[in-house]
Amino acid sequence: MARIGVVVFPGSNCEYDAANAVSDLGATPEFVWHTQASFEGFDGIILPGGFAHGDYLRPGALARFSPVMGAVQAFAAAGGAVLGICNGFQVLTEAGLLPGALQKNRGLTFLCQPSTLVVTSARSVLTRNAAVGQHLSVPINHFSGSYNCDDATYDALVANDQIVLRYLDNPNGSRDNIAGVSNEAGNVVGLMPHPERAMSTLLGSADGRVLLGSFVGLAATATL
């Protein structure tokens, strides 16, 4: 059974949702406090949503210096599956594990609403079980979710098939409707929408299962 580390920073607030989703998919979640410096024996890592270190300075700016991030870096470099959701995505970009940056939403509005995502690459650990072009209903809940990068980075994202998910209707001003990106190898993925909040049709959508099912399943077969 896959053992998935769910990193908890001071100010994280989606760690229980993430852990419940992981359990629901048949894997074993384990909370990892941000001072832990090793992921030995883990099959995958999730950086959940919230406001790590109060989002002071910029979202993710202080979290990237938490001791755990050295271990995340090493785990990712060894090919391990790493997923950043919302604030976790912001942390991964600040840490340089994913390209680009998340900026305040266009219109300066906090957005908490359903969004329709289009799968644009099935190469990443998050979308391996999805089909390119598939639509998924997954909620967003953020203030700084407008994805931004320079032209050279954008060209590289396109050339390497690193744009994983796009919004059908751009809610926040993200460049080219980008909702999620991966690193070049596809083992590190970040997205602003919350798949862990789309686990049951009873609560609006179960489309998050496609994404987290890919992640948990691939983590299970990883050979770390």
Binding site: L57, R58, F65, Q103, K104, N105, R106, L108, N148, D150
Partner: protein, 83 residues
């Protein structure tokens, strides 16, 4: 010596600045006309213990690039306070 250093962090040219744009749109309602190019940013003040002003500025610049700004979308400038 102890040097007081100001670090200004602003969004890089070409990066959308919704905060600056919102401020700019509010100005005509207050009677300020002819104002354009409003950009929002952050300012930090640090006291740096260093042997020289150059050394203090070099330290502040390193801090600005490593922590206070995100070079993907922001520029930073360190200057001595009062200059």
């Amino acid at each position: 010596m102890n040097y007081s250093v100001i670090v200004d962090v602003t969004l890089r040219a070409g990066i959308a600045d919704p905060e600056g744009a919102t401020i700019e749109r509010a100005l005509p309602a207050l009677g300020f006309t002819g104002i354009s190019n409003v950009r929002a940013g952050k300012s930090f003040r640090l006291d740096v213990e260093a042997p020289s002003a150059e050394e203090a500025l070099a330290q502040a610049t390193a801090i600005a690039q490593r922590l206070l700004s995100n070079p993907v979308m922001e520029d930073s400038v360190a200057r001595l306070a009062g200059e």
